[in-house]
Point group: C2
């Protein structure tokens, strides 16, 4: 049998799980403190729901689950491979949320402030840093069209990131409607906006020249491309300029939103308008956000308003806005930066034959301060102690030698310090 | 689109998730305090590993995942349905644990005391109380052949159940080797023991007559069946009698184990020898345990020693013993008994147009005591307040009327009490 995980799947060592659990606890703690509530949906959804959902390229990456029994036999007999499956693993948490909300709305608060931290699955080509099973971490507000929800989501997500201790970061915000107006004001026609936005989204990767070339390659006039790049990149397009380009009502609300989110940052992080911010997904309809870590680089959270998505699913207009923390990305950052996970201190009680009851009782007396593991004493205690020290233990005691206490690592240092004083 | 979950799948409302999360937190807290560490493995395993595993009837219940791309095309062309899948969803956490341990043993403590709380999947016929996706909650000790591990597992599992607050319970224990010796001492031959044990396992369901009939129906002599039932059920077969039937060395160790586990119970729960306890799985090799709730009825945890299982997987002899808490069963018990989940108290701050910043700042001042949600004031505040009361809120404050504080439920009662004093 094969002892490694299936291709592209991750498994985690105890120290890694401690870090992941502590991340989850911190994130959920902050979200709950803002009155968000956590839901849980199945990892398997009906294949029809998944195939008909708004997932773009992700639809090609669905893990499909074979039918069983008589239904499988019938499907095999028909010879139509498209009828072989009845279920699939979810590729994100947004489709399950939309279905869940439609199914349970009468029992949920309005608006519904929702937390999801759960696994999703995509059959991507295995590569470093990309797992086929990964945790997504979303907060969403369903049923509110007020930009107060944007302010709330920016604030609570930023607080969660601060709690995680990932160092300095900035929140970048834009609005799809502002972006569309800017694109139009440069001479592009209304129905080109999405296509132009897709190219603008690559600005970080391909630079100004790349964007110009791609736009011209798509058949747009060079002068429009030039004007757009000039507006987005060179003119120091600030908040004060939004009104010049965008619908005045949209501009006013959007600018208020930025100012309010900034005031609530208390100067702990930046909230900046970025006219070139697009965010990939096609379903965003209003504000879009992205959080960039200045200490570790790269995007650590992203989101936006998607008023159409849940509505399309249930045939009704439902406003919604969400913010997603890059759980796996932050896990890598924290793991590599070797910050302590923050669990309880660990101690060991060494014992011998026939002493398990006494050892447990001794361990119980230490459990208010430590997680205590019982260790059967072997001949080479030195090797056992070294293994404990390596796995982050602070203390070892011996049932038969109550006065001899071994301390390691941080606790050891603390002791030294105390002795010096 | 279909808005209900796929057939046989569960989704959970916010209050249910709060209860499930608080259960997980309590269980993991107790296990960690005994030095157990949590691991995480993928929900998808290679289909070969699953098909060749020791899962008995569960193997027929595996959700199988279709191959993708060229490999799927090739498999379809061959027309062999057995080659259509390359992955499957795990039906329990024991196979993943065995694979994980084999893959990571050099980086794990020896013995390895392990926690797993995670989802498993079985394509069972949907019925009440049985979901196709469910949480299993296992602790295992791998690499220890000492019965101290049994004592530790009984103690830590019982402590976890006490922490969960499910009321009184008893731990019943038996040993596969003792059971085998008892069966042999009644005149059955060595190779009948498993088959006889399978029938004895049904004692609770079909009674003494049912067991006698089934044994006779299997072709065993009526006098052996009679003698076995007499020994197990009527003779008040106690711990003192174990030595009469079983190998003296096994009997001595097993009785010591029971006495030690009982001493560590501190009288909070019973630890009783039950000569008729079998536990279904074929892979148990030594002690078996089951915990029965006296308050709610039925089994709430079960486990035993399975020295052969991990060894079979990696072609090596590895001792192992595990105990599994019936997470879903206990969730139903606690949900129906309507015990509070034990989260933080909840409060709401009502605010109006343009006040989101001030409302957030006011909420921040309350967050040490409450989870605080912002609520935009509507015209009919009474309806909004009623909804909050119904969902367990303790307090509502109004940004524009700082002196008017609404209290609900428990907090309300507390206030009344204070006033009376």
């Amino acid at each position: 049998m094969r002892i490694t995980p299936a291709e592209g799947m991750n498994e985690f060592l105890p120290g890694e799980v401690e870090l992941r659990d502590s991340m989850t606890e911190k994130i959920v703690g902050v979200y709950r403190s803002f009155g968000f509530t956590k839901i849980s949906t199945p990892a398997l959804e009906s294949i029809e729901n998944l195939d008909n959902s708004d997932g773009g390229d992700n639809l090609r990456l669905i893990f499909r689950v074979l039918k069983r029994g008589k239904k499988l036999e019938d499907a095999l007999e028909k010879g139509d491979p498209s009828g072989l499956c009845d279920l699939g693993l979810r590729y994100d948490l947004t489709l399950p949320l939309a279905r869940y909300w439609a199914n349970n709305r009468s029992r949920l608060p309005d608006p519904f402030k929702c937390i999801q931290i759960d696994r999703a699955y995509r059959a991507e080509r295995p590569q470093k840093g990309r797992s086929r099973e990964f945790v997504q971490c979303d907060v969403d507000v369903i049923g509110s069209d007020s930009l107060d929800s944007e302010v709330e989501l920016i604030t609570v997500t930023a607080r969660a990131l601060m709690k995680l201790g990932i160092g300095a970061f900035n929140v970048r915000v834009n609005d799809r409607r502002v972006l569309r107006d800017v694109i139009r004001s440069c001479g592009f026609s209304d129905d080109c906006c999405s296509s132009v936005a897709v190219t603008v989204d690559k600005l970080d990767k391909i630079g100004e020249d790349g964007v110009r070339d791609e736009l011209v390659g798509k058949g747009y006039p060079a002068e429009c491309a030039e004007k757009l790049i000039d507006t987005l990149c060179r003119r120091a397009f600030g908040e004060d300029d939004i009104e010049k380009h965008a619908d005045p009502a949209v501009a006013e609300e959007f600018c208020k939103m930025i100012r309010r989110a900034r005031e609530l940052s208390g100067g702990e992080y930046g909230v900046v308008f970025d006219p070139s911010l697009v965010r990939g997904q096609g379903y965003y309809t209003g504000a879009v956000f992205e959080i960039e870590s200045t200490e570790f680089g790269g995007t650590v959270a992203g989101g936006g308003r998607y008023d159409g998505l849940i509505g399309r699913f249930i045939g009704e207009n439902v406003p919604a806005v969400g913010f997603s923390i890059g759980f796996e990305r932050i896990f890598s950052i924290l793991k590599e930066s070797k910050r302590p996970a923050g669990g309880k201190k660990k101690a060991a009680v060494f014992y011998g034959d026939g002493e398990v009851v006494e050892a447990t009782k001794l361990a119980d007396t230490m459990r208010s301060e430590f997680d205590v593991t019982l260790v059967r004493r072997k001949k080479k205690v030195g090797k056992q102690l070294a293994a404990l020290e390596e796995t982050g233990f602070s203390r070892a005691v011996f049932l038969d030698r109550p006065d001899e206490i071994k301390t390691f690592g941080e606790e050891h240092k603390t002791n030294e310090k105390e002795e010096k004083q």
